[in-house]
Amino acid sequence: MSFQATPQLEAEVNELISHYPVKRAASLMVLHAIQEQFGWISQEAVQWTAKKLDLQPINVFEILTFYPMLRQEPQGKYQIKVCRTLSCALGGAYELHHHFCAKLGLDAHKHGPQTTSDGKFTVEFVECLASCGTAPVMMVGEKFYEGVSHAKADEIMGGCK
């Protein structure tokens, strides 16, 4: 498939580029914008971005592959990110992650994001989300949840239609 930028995305990207004296600096923000619209970043999108920013595709690919938030394949409709790091782990993050995996039929010991076969959920262990005082914490998409008990987790999942 080839990548088609909507006029709205073009406009957003042009605005982003204007924030920097050097076009290349907009790379990360442009990738965010693309991901917001498409949910992931395809190779064609990388080429499009490179062209837009007068770069080589490898320049963009280098950063796409560095940042875990940027995705190279389509993700579940709801992306669940459970904090894994120490304070949350002390607060039961592993059990919470396990709980999600068990409920959704995923392997809690696997590394990296996993998507349910129906494409509804992607579950991932992530590093400290800077809210350690309300451990365990998690995000669904851009929404943030604190002090997540298993009951609350079920409620959150239930809210994902």
């Binding site: 190779q43 990388v46 080589q56 490898i58 320049n59 280098e62 560095f66 875990p68």
Partner: protein, 581 residues
């Protein structure tokens, strides 16, 4: 992008202040500034000071011709600087020497500038321990497949492990596995497990070749060198990355698995594929050439060469090489052929002989041909060879010795303008004998009358009117060449010559650099270096004796040819001398 650093045509550099530093207790003076990879003067670093002090500091990522990144950490050293008191004045030891405040932290010598009075310690236990640590880290994910690695013998990981490593690794964890045989491009393979992520290849292709094609993907221990998927690494300089790669991660498809590097004999030579004259090493074994690699010459090619030039050696070993002397279709011998030719030429009326030489011949050979030309009153020229130039090394002039042909008087400034006259002379029957060296002239010939329709000389130089038909009118066609071709097949006399790799001699590059090259392999059969039989022929025809060795020929030529005055074979050294062209 920036061109290779050369010292060519630079205005005399202003005197650079010297500063005193100590390397492992030995005081030396170093310049405060040194040209960096791009030729810009930048503060001298510790590693450069150590080099000047002849102290080796092991390093992977640092390369004098590439931007500094300081990522391998192999070059860590300890150091101290003169201690300053509260009054900002140096504190003195009881014996009056300045007190040195040793830095509590080490520094990478490749990126840390020296300062006056600095002391650099490269051999302390701490330095030794740091190197061991870095080596151990580099080896933990390394496959350690040296026995089947092409870099073996030229691998800095292998070398430093012996010199600076500790014998046993403590590593008991599972290694990170990465792709082993990645096809990076038409000429390069990557073994990502052997890669130590020094980024020399990335910097070379981005900052020197101007093709930002390589990068690192993924993160942390999973970092891997890569191209963008579907975008092969393919520019005319890719093979230099194999040279700069300190380990066996990048290999040349051409050389892979061909020969262990340590079996190769390395001969200093010069590339003949264009007028740039990149300095090279010819790697050979048992009269077979296995590879060309660039040889440092800051006045010419820095440390690089183009892929086209590098791979242009296979023809030398072709089975159909001319290996015998032929006279009118019969196998002959050198003495017989030279004698007959000398007699013929001595008797030739002035103006009845023409010479078409090749700007691929050496200065000495062209000069000897010029001697024949003078004696015979011959018209002469050479065949131009044009292509596209690039921003780094490749010259539009694809002859290695156009300037040699000019300076020795074989051709005019505009090479090829005499070809029309020679064609006319043959057509009119005035020219009866044609001597051709190393050019398959028939190949580019265009029918005489057609050529007449062309308007400008410059069109004529590439295509001349000396067709096979025209050659049939000659009494004698004397051809020396290396490989058989249409012209050698038409010749009455065939004199098998030697490839540059099979002889010694000099070329004058496009920028006037006179550079010598050495013999790497023997010519096949009775084929001989052209200068050898030419000096015999010249001796027989003119009575002159110009010497029997290439040294004496060169030195004699230098006395006679104005542009070369003052040069000697010896003085050319390994990297040549630039003359006024």
């Amino acid at each position: 992008m920036s061109a290779a650093a050369t010292t060519e045509n630079k205005p005399a550099a202003p005197a650079i202040e010297k500063i005193k530093v100590k390397v492992d207790g030995r005081e030396i003076e170093v310049p405060r500034l040194i040209a960096d990879w791009s030729g810009k003067l930048t503060p001298t670093t510790m590693i450069q000071a150590c080099e000047l002090a002849k102290t080796e500091v092991p390093h992977y990522c640092w390369h004098p011709k590439l931007p500094v990144v300081g990522n391998c950490r192999m070059c860590l050293v300890e150091f101290g600087t003169p201690a300053l008191g509260p009054d900002r004045k140096p504190v003195l030891n009881p014996d009056g020497t300045p007190k040195i405040a040793k830095s509590p932290r080490p520094a990478i010598s490749c990126a840390t500038p020296v300062s006056p009075g600095m002391e650099i310690y490269t051999k302390t236990p701490a330095v030794k321990q740091m190197r061991e640590g870095v080596l151990e880290s580099l080896l933990i994910n390394h496959p350690l497949d040296c026995p089947i690695c092409d870099q073996a013998g030229e691998c800095k990981l292998q070398e430093y492990s012996v010199d600076y490593g500790q014998s046993a690794s403590r590593f008991v964890e599972a290694k990170v596995h990465k792709p082993k045989a990645v096809d990076l491009g038409p000429r390069i393979m990557l073994d990502a497990e052997r890669c130590i992520l020094c980024t020399r290849c990335i910097r070379f292709t981005r900052d020197i070749a101007g093709d930002d094609a390589l990068g690192i993907i993924n993160r942390g221990s999973y970092n891997t060198i890569a191209t963008f998927p579907g975008a092969p690494f393919d520019n005319n300089y890719t093979l230099n990355t194999v040279d700069v790669c300190p380990v066996g991660a990048l290999t040349s498809k051409d050389f892979r698995f061909q020969m262990r590097a340590w079996f190769l004999k390395e001969t200093k030579s010069v590339c003949t594929s264009c007028a740039t004259g990149c300095n090279i090493l010819i790697g050979s074994r048992e009269e077979k050439i296995y590879r060309y690699t660039p040889r440092d010459n800051d006045a010419v090619n820095a440390s690089w060469m183009c892929d086209a030039g590098r791979l242009n050696y296979k023809w030398i070993g072709r089975a159909d090489r001319l290996q015998d002397v032929w006279v009118r279709g019969q196998k002959s011998s050198w003495p017989a052929a030279i004698r007959e030719l000398a007699d013929k030429l001595k008797q030739a009326p002035a103006g009845s002989v023409a010479i078409i030489a090749s700007a691929r011949q050496t200065n000495e050979e062209l000069w000897l041909l010029a001697k024949l030309k003078a004696r015979l009153g011959a018209l002469s020229d050479a065949i131009p060879r044009e292509g596209e130039s690039d921003k780094l090394l490749v010259s539009a002039d694809r002859n290695p010795n156009t300037n040699g042909a000019r300076l020795t008087g074989i051709c005019f400034t505009e090479m090829g303008i005499n070809l029309v006259k020679i064609a006319d002379g043959i057509a009119s029957g005035k020219i009866k004998t044609l001597i051709v060296f190393g050019e398959n002239i028939v190949k580019r010939a265009v029918a005489h009358d057609k050529l007449r329709e062309r308007e400008t000389i410059s069109e004529v130089v590439d295509e001349h009117g000396i067709t096979a038909e025209l050659l049939g009118k000659l009494d004698a066609l004397i051809v020396s060449d290396i490989l058989p071709n249409e012209t050698t097949r038409l010749a009455h006399f065939v004199l098998p010559g030697a490839a540059p790799a099979e002889k010694r001699g000099t070329f004058t590059s496009g920028k006037g650099r006179v550079q010598k090259f050495m013999k790497a392999v023997e010519a096949p059969g009775v084929a001989r270096a052209e200068w050898e039989f030419l000096q015999e022929l010249v001796h027989h025809v003119t009575g002159q004796n110009n010497g029997l060795t290439v040294e004496s020929l060169f030195n004699q030529m230098a006395r006679e040819v104005a542009a070369f005055n003052g040069l000697t074979w010896q003085a050319l050294g390994d990297t040549g001398v630039t003359v006024q062209i």
